[in-house]
C-alpha cells in the first residue's frame, strides 16, 4: 500500500495543475434548440477508417517487410527452380506459377493480414475504444476492406513487376482482360478480407491468431494450383480446393496473364469465368453474414 494516509478533517489541498495549458474549452456549447449537428456519414467514416488502416499498416515496418518480401522471395526462388511446360500447351510453368503466387500473395495480404490485425485490435484496446465512440460499426469493416484492397494492390503490383521482368509474365493485352483482372482482384480481395474478419473472433489470444490464419492459408496454397499444376493434383484435393476461394482466384488470374492456349490445362479445359465470379461472390456474401453474426467487439464475458 502506497496510499498516503488521509486525515478526515481536511481534504488534501492540492497545487494547481502544472499544465502549460489554458483552461479546457467549454464542453457544452450553448446550442440553439432544435439545431443538432448531424452525425458523420457511413461513407465519410469508412474512408477515414480506410486511410487510417493503410497508414498504420505501412508504418508497421515488421509486418510490412514480412508481407511484401515473402511472396517475392517465393516467386524468385521457385521461379528459378521450376522448369518445363504445362502439359502440351507449350506455356512455361514459371508463368503459371507467377500467376499463382500473385493470387497467393493477395490472400496473404488480405485473409492473413486482416485476421491478424483484428486480433491485434482486440488485444491492444482498439475495438473497445471504437465501440465507445459514435463510429458506425460497419465503418470498421469497410476500413479493413479498403486497407486490404490497398495492401493487396501494392502486393500484386510488386509481384507483377517481378514476374514480368524475370519470369515471362505478360501484362494483359486487351481491355477485356484488364476488366477480368479488375473484377477478379476486387472480388477475391474482398472475399478473403471478409473471411479474415469473420474468423477473427475465434482466436483467444493474439499469439494464436498468426498460426490460426497461416495454417489454412498455407494448406490452400499447396492444393489450389500455386506451386503445382492444379489438374495434376489428386482429384480429392482438387475437390477440396474447389470449395475455397484461392483456387478460383488463381484460375482467374491465369485467365488474365497466361496465353489463351493454357486454358486446356484447367480442369474444365476452360477458364470458367462465370464459376469464378459465382464462388468468389458466394464467399464474399457468406463472409459478410458470418462477420455480422460472429464479430465480437469485446472479450468474452
Amino acid at each position: 500500500m502506497t496510499a498516503a494516509s488521509s486525515t478526515p478533517s481536511s481534504p488534501p489541498a492540492l497545487p494547481a495543475p502544472a499544465l502549460p495549458a489554458p483552461a479546457l474549452p467549454a464542453p457544452v456549447r450553448p446550442s440553439p434548440a432544435g439545431l443538432t449537428p448531424a452525425l458523420p456519414s457511413l461513407l465519410r467514416t469508412s474512408v477515414s477508417r480506410g486511410r487510417l488502416e493503410i497508414t498504420s499498416f505501412f508504418r508497421d515496418r515488421e509486418s510490412l517487410i514480412f508481407t511484401f518480401s515473402l511472396p517475392v522471395i517465393l516467386l524468385v526462388v521457385f521461379g528459378e527452380v521450376f522448369h518445363g511446360t504445362i502439359g502440351s500447351t507449350g506455356v512455361a510453368f514459371r508463368q503459371y506459377f507467377a500467376a499463382g503466387i500473385i493470387a497467393s500473395g493477395i490472400m496473404s495480404a488480405t485473409f492473413v493480414n486482416v485476421g491478424a490485425s483484428v486480433a491485434a485490435d482486440r488485444a491492444d484496446g482498439t475495438l473497445t475504444r471504437l465501440a465507445g465512440t459514435p463510429m458506425p460499426p460497419a465503418a470498421y469493416f469497410a476500413g479493413k476492406a479498403i486497407g486490404a484492397l490497398a495492401v493487396a494492390a501494392a502486393e500484386a503490383g510488386l509481384l507483377l513487376a517481378v514476374g514480368a521482368a524475370a519470369f515471362g509474365l505478360r501484362l494483359p493485352g486487351t481491355a477485356s482482360r484488364w476488366l477480368t483482372l479488375a473484377w477478379v482482384f476486387i472480388l477475391g480481395t474482398a472475399a478473403c478480407a471478409v473471411l479474415g474478419l469473420a474468423l477473427s473472433s475465434l482466436p483467444r489470444s493474439p499469439r494464436g491468431s498468426s498460426a490460426m490464419f497461416n495454417l489454412p492459408y498455407l494448406v490452400l496454397s499447396f492444393i489450389s494450383g500455386v506451386y503445382f499444376v492444379f489438374r495434376d493434383l489428386p482429384p480429392v484435393l482438387q475437390h477440396v480446393a474447389a470449395l475455397f476461394p484461392l483456387k478460383w482466384l488463381c484460375q482467374g488470374l491465369r485467365s488474365v496473364f497466361l496465353p489463351a492456349a493454357a486454358a486446356v490445362a484447367e480442369p474444365a479445359r476452360s477458364w470458367e469465368l462465370g464459376e469464378i465470379a459465382l464462388v468468389l461472390g458466394a464467399w464474399l456474401a457468406a463472409g459478410l453474414v458470418l462477420c455480422m453474426t460472429t464479430f465480437r467487439w469485446l472479450d468474452r464475458e
Binding site: S6, T7, L24
Partner: protein, 301 residues
C-alpha cells in the same frame, strides 16, 4: 437537448456470470445508483466487487440480467450513435494506435462526432502540443493517459466515464490529471470515475459510492461517508508522561474533561489529538476488512 437533472439512474441492477456450465456468480446483485448532472462520483471497491461490470453496463458494452438503467435519459442497452456521441469514455490502460501520431489520432476520432472539439485546442488543453507529431508508441505513460483523456473529451461529452484513469501514473502526473478532471466538472460535465485509490476519490469526488459483492454498501460525500464525521473518534493525549488514547462517540466531552483533569500549567493537554476514521478506515470497514490489524488488506479476499 432535454435538460435532465439525473445523468445516471440505476435500480436493482443484476448481472450474472456463468464461469462454468452449472455455476452462477452474481457479479451485480441489486445495485442502485444515482448521479446528478455535474457531479463527480467515484466508484470504489475491491477487485471483483463489480466496478468494471457496472461501468460496462452503464456504457452499453454489456447486457444486464435485471434492473432498470437510464444514462443520459436513455437505456444503454438500446444505445444508438447519437447517445454514444454524448458520452465520453476513458478506458483502462490501452495501447492502441501505436504507429499513429497524437494529432492524427485526435483528428481521426474527431471525425466520428457531430460537434467535436477543435483538435489542436484539445491537444493543447491536455498539454500535448509538443507531442502532437509523436507516435503514440513513443509517449510516456502519463502522456499516453492524456491522449486517452483527450479522446474521451473529443465529442464534448455530457457524461465522462473514467475507468481507473491514473493507475500506474506517478504522483505528479496524477495531480495534473486531477486538475484536468476538476476543470471539466467545473464546466458542467458529469464525471463517473472508477478507482482503487482512496486519495483520488477524496480529492476529486463530490460523492463516493463504495461497492462490495455486487452492490453499493455506502454512498455519500467523502468527508461524511458512512458517518465518519460523527462516528467514533480516537482521542490521544499524554498524562503523567504516559501516552493514552480512548475511543469515544463524544470527543468534545472527553477533551473538556481532560482539560480539567490533565492539563499542563499552561492549560494545554500535552500531545492532544482527535482523530476521526480516515476515508481508508471507513472504506475498509465497509468492504468487510477490519482496519489497523496486523496483516494487510490485500491478504483478505
Amino acid at each position: 437537448m432535454t435538460a435532465t437533472r439525473t445523468a445516471v439512474r440505476v435500480r436493482g441492477l443484476r448481472k450474472i456470470y456463468r464461469p462454468a456450465r452449472y455455476r452462477e456468480v452474481a457479479a451485480l446483485n441489486g445495485l442502485d445508483l444515482d448521479i446528478g448532472t455535474g457531479e463527480i462520483v467515484a466508484l470504489l471497491g475491491p477487485n471483483g466487487a463489480g466496478k468494471t461490470t457496472t461501468v460496462q453496463i452503464l456504457t452499453g458494452f454489456r447486457r444486464r440480467d435485471a434492473g432498470e438503467v437510464t444514462v443520459l435519459g436513455t437505456d444503454p442497452a438500446a444505445a444508438d450513435r447519437a447517445w454514444r456521441a454524448r458520452l465520453g469514455i476513458v478506458p483502462q490502460q490501452a495501447s492502441d494506435f501505436g504507429e499513429l501520431t497524437v494529432g492524427e489520432v485526435v483528428r481521426h476520432l474527431a471525425g466520428y462526432y457531430p460537434d467535436p472539439h477543435d483538435s489542436a485546442e484539445l491537444i493543447d488543453a491536455v498539454g500535448l502540443t509538443g507531442q502532437a507529431s509523436t507516435r503514440l508508441r513513443r509517449l510516456s505513460g502519463g502522456q499516453r493517459r492524456r491522449v486517452d483523456l483527450a479522446l474521451g473529451l473529443l465529442g464534448r461529452p455530457e457524461l465522462l466515464v473514467l475507468d481507473e484513469p491514473t493507475t500506474g501514473l506517478d504522483p505528479a502526473v496524477r495531480r495534473q490529471f486531477w486538475g484536468l478532471i476538476r476543470q471539466l466538472a467545473a464546466a458542467g460535465t458529469t464525471v463517473l470515475l472508477s478507482t482503487h485509490y482512496l486519495d483520488e476519490a477524496e480529492a476529486l469526488a463530490s460523492r463516493v459510492a463504495v461497492m462490495a459483492a455486487g452492490r453499493i454498501v455506502a454512498a455519500g460525500p467523502p468527508a461524511t461517508l458512512a458517518g465518519r464525521d460523527t462516528g467514533t473518534a480516537i482521542v490521544s493525549w499524554q498524562e503523567g508522561g504516559v501516552p493514552r488514547s480512548e475511543r469515544t462517540p463524544a470527543p468534545a466531552r472527553l477533551v473538556a474533561a481532560l482539560a480539567a483533569r490533565a492539563a499542563a500549567p499552561d492549560g494545554e493537554i500535552p500531545g492532544l489529538t482527535v482523530t476521526r476514521p480516515s476515508l481508508e478506515d471507513t472504506y475498509l470497514r465497509l468492504i468487510g476488512v477490519t482496519p489497523h490489524r496486523p496483516g494487510t488488506p490485500e491478504d483478505t479476499p
